[in-house]
């Protein structure tokens, strides 16, 4: 925080249409003074209300497992969609528009299942590691929990996230409704490399197959190099055991990779020479190019960002000073910067990144905007530490074509109408 700068420079525009240096929010009293001085905020006289009766009587009882406020009940996963005739095969989207910070509450973590959520008793669940190893090993959950663990705050994104971006006309949904196959948690578990070392991997092996215990017996092939690098057998999510919808009692966790490969309800790992070519890495989760050929094993999720406030469903409430807040993330590492524009991409300013900024994690960015009440198009553009820059939709479609349905990472444009309503627009 830098208080030495004068108030007027704190209010200095950093880009067109009222984008301000975010320092305006950090210089406390000076901000209010100067903001009101410039007529941005009109001080209002408060009408005192009687103390509510509630505070005179004892509140609710203690409880074994907490629940959120009854007034927050409308914050729910979006788009709960299952294939025809099924109830647990499809997805539910995290309501990103209603959340702040970088951690997704476990109960709101997005879901994407292929044959429902199995109810697994950890006392009978085992993990088998076999294939090209010296010693095939079976682990009970008790045994696994005695291994040294590590914790990481990292995102998971379904590679089909944001695929509505390919629709010819912009789909009118909230930021979570469009981009919510995306969540970020603290994952705690056993580094897979420890278990593989104990089993003794054949030097000829290059891949492994991971298999879940759901009714689809979900299987994906994973490069051995990734498994030995930073892959976890995750046991905990945000401090408590995984939710059933996130793979209880154990899931694979592959930082930065498309979510489907982080196999939930993990029961078996087979070390192999090559990929097994399962249905979900051939028929699905492959990317068709304009010439009709298709890429397989496009694992890393590309650099991306979205503004969550303001956004569709979080309208503006009259001209004045606003904080723009959003999320940026990249499967390639840390977010290096996020640019924000409030004039449809003609001019850009650098947003402030809220600490902590972790590797392959949600990074919260913020910018200050003095909205003059006129029409505006707001957007964010993330850059990661590898130097990759999030493309515009036009650039993205020009390079990737229209036949894909995975790995969409183009910029999200929100149009702000003079009445404050926000809508999804392409240009």
């Amino acid at each position: 925080m830098d208080n030495s700068e004068s108030d007027s420079s704190a209010l200095q525009a950093v880009a067109g249409n009222g984008l301000l240096h975010r320092r305006i929010f950090l210089t406390r009293g000076a901000t209010l003074l100067s903001a009101t001085g410039l007529g941005l905020l009109t001080p209002k006289l408060a009408t005192a209300q009687a103390l509510p009766e509630l505070s005179n009587v004892p509140g609710a009882a203690l409880s074994g497992y907490g629940t959120r406020s009854e007034f927050e009940g409308s914050v729910k996963r979006n788009n709960i969609l299952s294939y025809p005739g099924t109830t647990g095969s499809g997805g539910s989207w995290t309501p990103l528009e209603s959340l702040e910070g970088i951690i997704t509450p476990s109960a709101l973590h997005f879901e994407r299942h292929h044959s429902g959520i199995p109810a697994i008793n950890p006392d009978t669940h085992q993990l088998l590691i076999h294939g090209m190893v010296k010693r095939p090993l079976l682990f009970s959950m008790d045994a696994l929990c005695r291994y040294p663990m590590v914790s990481r705050i990292q995102f998971i994104e379904c590679s089909g996230n944001s695929r509505v971006g390919w629709a010819p006309e912009p789909v009118q949904k909230s930021s979570g409704g469009l981009h919510g196959l995306l969540s970020c948690s603290e994952w705690t578990g056993v580094p897979l490399s420890i278990l593989l070392d104990e089993a003794g991997v054949d030097p000829q092996a290059q891949w492994l197959l991971a298999e879940g215990a759901d009714s689809a017996a979900m299987t994906r092939s994973v490069p051995l190099a990734k498994a030995m690098d930073d892959t976890l057998i995750a046991v905990y999510q945000n401090g408590e055991k995984l939710r059933p919808s996130n793979g209880y009692p154990i899931r694979l966790f592959l930082p930065g990779y498309e979510g489907n490969a982080s196999v939930k309800w993990l029961r078996r790992i087979k070390v192999t020479a090559g990929p097994t070519m399962t249905r979900d890495e051939t028929a699905e989760y492959t990317d068709t190019r304009p010439d009709g050929s298709s890429l397989m094993f496009t694992f890393p999720m590309d650099v991306k960002s979205i503004i969550t406030a303001p956004s569709l469903g979080r309208p503006m409430q009259g001209a004045g000073l606003y904080e723009i807040s959003g999320l940026a993330w990249s499967g390639a590492g840390r977010i290096a910067g996020v640019d924000v524009s409030v004039d449809g991409g003609q001019t850009w300013g650098r947003a402030a990144l809220t600490e902590p900024v972790f590797d392959k994690a949600f990074t919260r960015f913020r910018a200050a905007w003095r909205w003059n009440g006129g029409p505006a198009i707001i957007m964010s553009r993330a850059i990661d530490e590898s130097g990759a820059v999030q493309p515009s939709r036009e650039q993205f479609i020009a390079s990737k074509g229209l036949k894909r349905s995975y790995h969409y990472n183009a910029i999200q444009n929100w149009k702000v109408a003079p009445n404050g309503e926000v809508s999804n627009v392409y240009a």
Binding site: S115, L138, S215, A283, L295
Partner: protein, 191 residues
């Protein structure tokens, strides 16, 4: 590397037993740990256990069980176990279309089916045996799985109606779209 860090974390617990005023002065244990130093709590799995669990089929056919079937017997299996969801002759109804779309991948609206898109016939067997029928997965016998796989390949014009599918022949089936797949790992040609 990671592993050493977390093992150092474990050792940290032991260090706490020292009087707080006394700093640890021993060797730096991290880099000296051997690669195999884990708690070693896995139980060795027997070949029988592994055989019972290992249901995955590699694209070269490794893992295919004994048994066989043709499209003729497969049509009967399909009618009872699959038709309700996937429609007459795999045309799709409630759920995925399984037949047709040949040659559509290079056009502007690709139709992805077992016949037009899937690169390996082994995947058809593997997927049906593990995941289908959706409402009661894992209940087809190997004979039924070979037969219904043969039926889908026949409906897609890839094999003849009386061609026997077994551990040898299935792995040799050439899927029409096989050569249209490009590996994007380790290097994505199209980043």
């Amino acid at each position: 590397m990671l592993k050493y860090l977390c093992l150092i974390g474990m050792l940290g617990l032991a260090l706490q037993l020292l009087p707080v005023t006394q700093a640890y002065e021993g060797p730096d244990l991290g880099p000296d740990l051997g690669p195999d130093l884990g708690p070693d709590l896995g139980i060795e799995a027997t070949p029988e256990q592994i055989a019972a669990w290992d249901i995955s089929i590699a694209p070269d056919g490794e893992g295919l069980p004994s048994g066989s079937g043709t499209a003729i017997t497969g049509a009967a299996v399909y009618a009872i176990r699959c038709l309700a969801c996937h429609g007459h002759e795999g045309a799709g109804s409630l759920n995925n279309r399984l037949v047709g779309g040949h040659g559509s991948m290079s056009g502007s609206t690709p139709i992805r089916t077992v016949g037009s898109y899937w690169p390996y016939a082994t995947t058809v067997f593997d997927y049906i045996r593990r995941a289908m029928p959706y409402n009661l997965s894992g209940t087809l016998t190997n004979e039924e799985t070979y037969a219904v796989t043969a039926y889908l390949l026949f409906l897609n014009g890839i094999i003849d109606e009386d061609e026997i599918m077994d551990a040898q022949t299935l792995a040799q089936v050439q899927m029409p779209n096989r050569d249209n797949f490009v590996l994007a790992y380790p290097d994505n040609p199209d980043p």
